[in-house]
Symmetry: C2
Subunit: 145 residues, 2 copies
């Protein structure tokens, strides 16, 4: 049995998360997630995934092509408490080795919890950054705003 790494801070977990994402490394990705909690993961445009099996399966599918990404993280906002740390940031994602592309921009809320195995990710909620003005919440479906 492979011993999962011990992350000493939420920031270390986040570095490992985005490193695994960039390299499409499924085992490295799963090593950052909390094992004792029921973590939640929402990919951009995706459904809500709850619990490690569902989260693992989604990452496995996303990584199936093995595409490596270049990831730039900006505009970090942090809210801290002794047991939970919330890091909200903007991800700019490009496919590695392809020139002249406009990056996909994603808004992410990452939540980390401290436990007996160190810090781990307990929630990742990512959504696409809009290109234009946001729709109203009270739009009736299919109604032009």
């Amino acid at each position: 049995m492979i011993t999962a790494p011990f992350f000493s801070s939420a920031e270390e977990v986040e570095v490992a998360f985005y490193d695994a994402l960039a390299r499409a490394d499924l085992e490295a990705m799963m090593a950052v997630w909390a094992e004792d909690d029921e973590p939640v993961c929402i990919h951009p445009g995706g459904p809500r995934l709850h619990g490690l099996p569902a989260i693992r399966d989604a990452w496995r599918q996303l990584f199936a092509s093995g595409t490596r990404l270049r990831i730039r993280l900006t505009d970090l906002l942090v809210q801290e408490s002794p047991m939970f740390i919330v890091r909200n940031l903007i991800e700019e994602l490009s496919v590695e080795d392809i020139a002249g592309q406009a990056p996909n921009v994603v808004l992410a809320t990452n939540i980390y919890a401290s436990g007996p195995q160190g810090w781990r990710m307990v929630l990742h909620h990512a959504s696409p950054m809009p290109m234009s003005a946001p729709p109203a919440r009270d739009d009736a479906p299919h109604t032009l705003h």
Copy 2:
């Protein structure tokens, strides 16, 4: 000066948040947000809003029509610590008094912090629930997946 209400739990804040949203009540909405932190708010399809002035301005615009909503909350997942509580849920939003509409379905991550003024909302990240399979993160922009 109106004294802001004292919320004794994260759940109370959340009830007040969705009540204010349903009634398009700007003052009631702003009363749930943390005053001492720099809260973050992401509406479905919207940009990231940071700090009370930006958050207030967005709600003011969203509420300008005065449209009242019917809101159903489901599938609540809670992660708790003494100072932060994370509530992740699914919102079903319909315009009040309009029959036969399919609700807008939204995934929400709501984070509440405990402070000297009781519990307040520090982060609301909402994104549309997908109707179909999620896109891959490594889609080059405009590439069919």
